[in-house]
């Protein structure tokens, strides 16, 4: 059955993951993310949030369950990883830019190398994306010459250059100096407002409240509860959620 935009863009059903050590990190995660939806995932450190995102773009293989991205099954030994990763963009806590390439080259590389698109056309798009993340003028800078926040915005532009349908953000502001956090959050919010489907792991509760259509709380590898941000933050039902929110708010 072909995927249509009225079905969930990302659909996780009973996803289990155990790492080598034998500890089950994901214990049956089920969630749907609709096209254009922005979801935020919060929860204590070690609860499996990063693993969850990394399963969606097949950086981590899952043991059991199903992950569908636009109808494509990720838990499939014959998975076409390139097809999946064209649809799914990912931004990491440590930016992970390519340090030997300039900001512009970082943004241009994947479309040219992987998609074999025309260089001139990719450059035009890359310049527009760099302008969109408000870094015009930094095209020729190397990552090592940029602040953390600037690197992270280039990393976002680099992902967007592949024209993904969903973006994964894994604590993308956690490693940043406080004064550079805002610029990155503004960039993500603008993306969300443009209709990009986003799965965001974050510790920025104010941001989650503002930008999310739905907030998920994970603890110990399970989704404890979820809801629209207003309800979720005003009246969390589960004691674990309440305790977590009390600690950080």
């Amino acid at each position: 059955m072909p995927w249509t935009p009225d079905q969930p863009l990302v659909r996780l059903a009973d996803v289990h993951k155990t790492f080598g050590g034998g500890v089950e990190v994901l214990k049956g995660i089920t969630m749907d993310v609709m096209k254009g939806e922005v979801i935020c995932i919060i929860g204590p450190s070690g609860s499996g949030k990063s693993t969850l995102l990394r399963c969606v773009n097949a950086l981590v293989p899952i043991d059991r369950g199903s992950i569908l991205v636009e109808g494509q099954e990720v838990n499939d030994p014959k998975l076409d990883k390139l097809a999946l990763r064209r649809k799914v963009g990912m931004v990491f806590q440590q930016y992970n830019l390519f340090p030997h390439k300039t900001a512009l080259e970082n943004v241009m590389m994947a479309p040219v190398h992987v998609l074999k698109r025309d260089k001139k056309e990719v450059e035009r798009q890359a310049l527009a994306l760099i302008a969109k993340v408000r870094l015009t003028g930094k095209e020729e800078s190397y990552p090592g010459e940029l602040s953390g926040g600037q690197q992270q915005r280039i990393a976002i532009a680099r992902s967007l250059a592949m024209n993904p349908d969903v973006m994964l953000f894994d604590e993308v502001t956690a490693a940043l100096d406080p004064e550079t956090v805002k610029g990155v959050l503004v960039t993500i919010r603008e993306l969300a407002e443009d209709g990009m489907t986003c799965m965001i792991v974050t510790h920025e509760m104010g941001f989650a409240r503002e930008v999310a259509n739905r907030v998920y709380f994970t603890d110990g590898g399970v989704l404890v509860e979820h809801g629209p941000p207003k309800e979720f933050f005003a009246s969390p039902r589960d004691p674990r959620t309440r305790q977590f929110l009390d600690q950080i708010l």
Binding site: L59, K81, R85, F92, N96, F98, P99, A110, G144
Partner: protein, 239 residues
């Protein structure tokens, strides 16, 4: 003439025959060095790539190769290639004379390339391992295959990290080419030996050899240093 006034016999500077001999030896040495430099680097890159491969058999073969070449003297390796393998690789021509298929020079080039290559594999592997895993994941999540991620991201970074160690090994290789002498490759040491046998000017030729090798190594170090500076990335210091 210097020789008449001081007794110093630098025949290669005034004797046309010796000059030609020595110059040919010099060219042979440089040719051997150039071939081995390039081949050993290629072997290093390919070997390091195989070491990261999923195929256990390939990894074991590479590991065996490295152990063999790292833990035996290069001179013994050369003899092994030349006398053990070389004795099988002979064609018998129409008039009954056995002709070696592989020339002395080629044996020396093969042996020295693999000898230095074994070290280069380890050097590049260490460089590859020093590239953060996250960098590879970033490339993968952008749709890079393993091969493409290596070509465009991992190797360029690993190479920069490896350069100082590579430098040392290539200097070592330049010096080790003199063992080709042992299987009568007419390289510099070999022709120097011929010259000093004819002219009995051992001290003079020794000095010539030393100065020539110091100069050749100096050129390599200078080129590698320039290369290293050229590859330097603003704001980035490799591991």
């Amino acid at each position: 003439m210097l020789h008449e006034t001081s007794g110093i016999k630098l025949t290669i500077f005034y004797d046309a025959f010796d000059r030609a001999r020595f110059f040919n030896g010099f060219l042979t040495s440089v040719r051997l060095m150039a071939v081995c430099l390039v081949a050993s680097v290629v072997i290093g890159v390919v070997g390091a790539w195989i070491q990261g491969s999923r195929l256990r058999v390939l990894r074991l073969i590479t590991q065996g190769y490295i152990q063999f070449f790292r833990n035996t003297p290069p001179l013994v390796q050369l003899y092994f290639f030349y006398f053990a393998l070389g004795s099988y690789l002979k064609l018998t021509t129409g008039n009954g004379i056995a002709v070696p298929i592989v020339s002395n020079f080629t044996w020396a080039a093969i042996c020295l390339s693999f000898y230095a290559g074994a070290f280069n594999v380890e050097i590049f592997r260490a460089g590859i391992e020093a590239v953060p895993r996250e960098t590879l994941e970033a490339a993968e999540s952008l749709g890079y295959s393993r091969l493409k991620a290596y070509a465009y991201v991992i190797l360029p970074l690993a190479f920069r990290i490896s350069l100082p160690a590579l430098n040392n090994n290539l200097v070592n290789l330049i010096k080790t080419t003199t063992i080709a002498y042992a299987i009568a490759v007419p390289e510099m040491l070999y022709v120097a030996n011929q010259i000093w046998s004819d002219e009995s000017n051992v001290p003079e030729m020794m000095n010539v050899l030393l100065i020539t090798y110091v100069s050749l190594v100096g050129i390599l170090v200078w080129v590698m240093g320039r290369w290293e500076r050229g590859l330097r990335i603003p704001g980035y210091s490799p591991a």
